[in-house]
């Protein structure tokens, strides 16, 4: 059910628009230095860009200038080549999704009424709005029948945030602005919401601009990250890999914090490394065949699956002997599994905890796919870091050339003028 609904959503959805900020400046009266000083940023269609920086660096102000909740003092904003700096802000905002911290849901309206707000304002028909509300609830993983008529205070923080995202996406805007949307929920819920957002974005391809002060969140969600320092000056604007392996300056490396190599593990998914085969038996297999498999094969160990093909027990050669031939008592229960979408960080964690240094990888419904072991992880991390280093060097080289080129043209331009 979810599958089909999200499928149609993706098919009918408007995908992202290009956003260009040109020399955007915000100066508040009575303050000597601007809050945002001359920011230029180009965000590609369908890209998730994270603005990250210490509090008070102007990242929120920058975001809020995109939908003109804050009017820029100077500079231009372009969305899909259209200059929106001077158009009617109310109309502009209806075409830009907006999700904020603590969800911003209106407590006096039901979940459905909250989600229906923007589609109604842009003049959708009643039946279309109704269908859309159901579709959006489904999309963010809430059962429409159950949550439709609830009030925000009857929802948990995580559920509220989901509805907040559903409301922001309801009128199918090409651009989604998110201002620390997961800042007010507990770490476990935040993790879930981040995963959900990644899944949504894989389906919808919106242009997302996301503000956070949490660098780990930035790495996890961003296609590119803009690390901002005071007055929204861009210290570095690059892919998470590049920022981790090659921070532009001390400010960025300070912000990246310790353990860049460990954080790098968050950027790669289990699906991207080699998932190895592992011999399995089923709980229903007769005990003789299990014995034979252990004796004949080159393996010291088997994975026993339950009736629904889910990892159940690790069986070693000695285990069956000690358990006097009863498979029910033998072996070690499988504690932890990872999905193919899990990060290498999660996988490493699971491998470290496991006594024999490997973890079972499972599919959507928990069915066994293969295993990842310590060796595979080590090798892929080595490869990854090596590749990053090479890419960083190349990148630096390119930048150097570009700078060189620019200075040259500037000099020429100067000569002409």
């Amino acid at each position: 059910m979810t599958e089909t609904a999200t499928g149609t959503a993706a098919a009918s959805a408007a995908s992202g628009a290009r956003i260009q900020l040109e020399n955007l400046t915000k100066r508040y009266p009575g303050s000597p230095s601007p809050a945002v000083d001359d920011v230029s940023l180009e965000i590609k269609p369908g890209e998730t860009v994270i603005l990250v920086g210490p509090s008070g660096c102007g990242k929120s102000t920058t975001l809020r200038m995109i939908n003109r909740l804050i009017e820029p003092t100077s500079g231009r904003i372009r969305i899909d080549e259209e200059d929106v700096t001077d158009i009617d802000p109310v109309g502009l905002r209806r075409k830009i999704g907006y999700a904020i911290q603590a969800s911003g849901l209106f407590p006096h309206m039901t979940v459905a009424e909250n989600i229906a707000l923007v589609p109604k304002m842009v003049g959708w028909s009643k039946s279309r709005v109704k269908d859309r509300v159901e579709e959006m609830l489904d999309l963010v993983g809430l059962d429409p029948r159950e949550f439709h008529g609830r009030y925000p205070r009857q929802l948990s923080g995580g559920q509220q945030q989901r509805v907040g995202v559903a409301r922001a996406l309801a009128a199918d805007p090409p651009v989604l602005l998110m201002d620390e949307p997961f800042g007010a929920v507990d770490p476990i819920t935040r993790d879930h919401l981040q995963d959900e957002l990644i899944r949504l974005q894989r389906e919808l391809h919106k242009t997302i601009v996301f503000v956070t002060h949490d660098f780990d969140e930035a790495i996890k969600l961003g296609d590119r990250i803009a690390v901002l320092r005071e007055r929204s000056h861009i210290a570095q604007f690059d892919t998470p890999e590049a920022i981790l392996t090659n921070p532009a300056d001390d400010f960025v490396s300070g912000f990246v914090g310790a353990g860049a190599a460990l954080k790098r593990l968050n950027l790669t998914r289990v699906r991207d490394v080699g998932i190895a085969d592992f011999p399995t038996v089923s709980v229903d297999d007769p005990i003789e065949s299990i014995f034979n498999k252990l004796r004949e094969g080159p393996y010291n160990e088997l994975l026993m699956l339950d009736r629904r093909n889910r990892p159940y027990k690790w069986l070693r050669r000695g285990d069956l002997m000690r358990a006097k031939g009863s498979p029910a008592r033998a072996g070690q229960l499988v504690h932890d599994t990872v999905t193919r979408d899990a990060t290498l960080h999660d996988a490493l964690e699971a491998v470290l905890i496991d006594s024999s240094g490997r973890v079972a990888v499972t599919g959507r419904r928990g069915e066994f796919i293969g295993v990842v072991d310590m060796e595979t992880l080590m090798n892929s991390v080595q490869e990854m870091l090596q590749a990053d280093r090479l890419a960083a060097m190349e990148h630096e080289h390119d930048l150097e050339e570009l700078r060189h080129h620019r200075t040259e043209t500037e000099l020429e331009g100067g000569a002409d003028g």
Binding site: G104, F106, L177
Partner: protein, 215 residues
């Protein structure tokens, strides 16, 4: 003559007075509410504007009701006009103050969200800010009504309508057979009216405060 005999004998007169009192208070409350909310909407966004509105309306309240009505008589004459003006002025303060406090108390992040998803200023006001500020505003209206119930009795001094006539008549003829009965009937009538109004407000709250923000 016992109190009950008095009530039975003057039933018609008392009911008319009670009805007129209720009607006067109700109508003045409607005017005070509309005016009060309008004043609040115009002023709540500026610090000094809102405070000025609260202080001004509070000043009316410090003027003794008898004096205010007395001052109004030479200006607008006797009867209904001074009653309506006085009651409306007295009703303003609780409405204005609660409306301003209520509107200022709306979570700024919700106003930001309303603006951010593309609501016009008018929509922000009528779909988000006023509904959320409505419970305190309603409390203000309730308090004002209770107050006006008592003040309306004084209006009889200027030949205004209501149960105050009963009380004033009784006071004027103190010592006569029915004096105490008249004062008592007027007073108890006012208390009963006040309680009825209060019950009506509880019902109104049930009907108009959205379920999502009701306690």
């Amino acid at each position: 003559m016992s109190f009950w005999d008095y009530l039975a004998g003057h039933q018609q007169q008392l009911l008319t007075d009670a009805f007129q009192q209720a009607s006067a208070v109700f109508q003045c409350m409607v005017i005070a509410t509309l005016l009060g909310i309008a004043i609040a909407l115009l002023t709540y966004r500026s610090a000094w504007g809102g405070n000025l509105a609260i202080t001004t309306t509070a000043t009316f309240l410090t003027v003794p009701s008898l004096a205010l009505i007395g001052l109004l008589i030479p200006l607008v004459g006797l009867g209904v006009p001074p009653t309506v003006i006085a009651l409306t002025l007295y009703g303003l303060l609780p409405v204005v103050r609660n409306a301003i406090v209520g509107l200022r108390g709306v979570d700024p992040s919700l106003v930001d969200a309303a603006k951010g998803i593309g609501m016009s200023r008018v929509a922000q006001l009528f779909r988000v800010e006023l509904p959320l500020a409505w419970p305190p505003i309603l409390t203000g209206i309730r308090v004002a009504t209770q107050m006006l119930m008592g003040i309306a009795a004084i209006a009889a001094y200027a030949s205004g309508p209501g149960l105050g006539n009963e009380i004033f008549r009784g006071i004027a003829s103190l010592g006569s057979a029915n004096a105490i009965n008249q004062v008592l009937a007027g007073t108890i009538g006012i208390v009963i009216l006040a309680l009825l109004f209060d019950a009506a407000y509880v019902l109104l709250g049930r009907l108009t405060i959205p379920r999502g923000i009701r306690d």
